[in-house]
């Protein structure tokens, strides 16, 4: 099986199926990420489509050694944010500034620590998905890049173009907010 770098080289030399193979390989990850950013199936499809179009337009800038998945998801993140801005029906829980995110976090009741409510997720990821979608965007994207996609906090900070300390702070607050949301469900 060809690597992403090899597929890009092949595409640049005129092999059309190479691009199609790249799309097939990464469509699930991009769509999943987009869905968890925008929360709607149709918009996630649009975001995924725009992401791959932007990727195709900038394919000349892709350098060997770069992680294609991270690059694609970075494009997907920016595209999703543009979609959310256009939607204009934003609540602070969908896309917030740091202050909004703070306000959201503090608005959640602080239950007594209950391992059961968090650890009792078992195989039920629906509760976690629902809680994730309620997180402010600046927390949600940290969670998606750092935990779901496996980037380190340094890589996440670079991808999101924020200082490392900000990434660490948002990561911590995201987990706190998630635990509170899970406890209140």
């Amino acid at each position: 099986m060809k690597t992403d770098d090899e597929l890009i080289d092949a595409y640049k030399q005129g092999e059309e199926t190479a691009f199609a193979e790249l799309v097939e390989r990464h469509i699930s990850a991009v769509y999943t990420f987009a869905y968890r950013m925008v929360g709607k199936k149709e918009e996630a499809e649009d975001v995924a489509q725009e992401t791959f179009i932007k990727f195709w337009k900038s394919i000349g800038r892709f350098r060997k050694g770069m992680r294609m998945r991270t690059w694609l998801l970075s494009i997907a993140r920016n595209t999703a944010i543009d979609y959310l801005r256009k939607r204009r029906s934003l609540s602070f829980s969908e896309m917030g500034t740091h202050d909004d995110a703070d306000a959201f976090e503090h608005s959640l009741p602080d239950p007594a620590p209950s391992a059961e409510s968090v650890f009792g997720l078992g195989e039920d990821t629906h509760r976690l998905e629902a809680a994730l979608m309620k997180l402010p965007l600046i927390y949600r994207e940290i969670v998606l890049f750092h935990y779901r996609e496996g980037l380190t906090l340094e890589e996440t900070a670079q991808t999101l173009k924020i200082p490392l300390n900000t990434a660490k702070s948002r990561d911590r607050r995201a987990l706190i907010a998630l635990r509170k949301l899970l406890a209140t469900q």
Binding site: E15, Q49, F52, I53, R148
Partner: protein, 138 residues
């Protein structure tokens, strides 16, 4: 017992509609084909205009040479080489002064634009690809 972080890492992928990947590739190909058609049209027009201008520019250049003393000074090298080399500085200045600059620039410029735009037009012609695109073949 799983930690929250582990649950987050293990969140499953959400499968998109089966046709999404194919529709993405088709849309990219449509954009690419449209872009190539536009560029072919631009370079074809440029090649045609510059190609039509090459001959008039060449005619202008030749007429300028024949009307100027450039040819006469140049022929001195062939007819009386020793005298020419003896006064090479004066001869060189005379050649430069009488050189048919306008005609030469016009001819070389239009010829250059013609060749470059022809090359660019050819590069945007449809290529034969190694494999014709079919999603089902992947």
């Amino acid at each position: 017992m799983k930690e929250l972080e582990t649950f987050l890492r293990d969140l499953p992928d959400i499968r998109p509609e089966a046709a999404l990947a194919e529709s993405i590739v088709r849309r990219v190909m449509a954009i690419r084909n449209r872009s190539m058609r536009t560029r072919r049209a631009v370079f074809a027009t440029l090649a045609a205009l510059s190609g039509l201008s090459v001959l008039p520019a060449l005619y202008l250049s030749v007429r300028e040479i024949s009307n100027s003393s450039f040819a006469s000074y140049l022929s001195l090298f062939l007819s009386d080489g020793s005298a020419a080399f003896g006064n090479w500085r004066e001869l060189l200045f005379s050649l430069l002064e009488s050189a048919p600059a306008v005609g030469a620039i016009a001819f070389l410029g239009t010829a250059f634009v013609f060749l470059i735009s022809l090359k660019a037009f050819a590069s945007y012609l449809p290529r034969r690809y190694k494999n014709s695109y079919r999603m089902s073949s992947i």
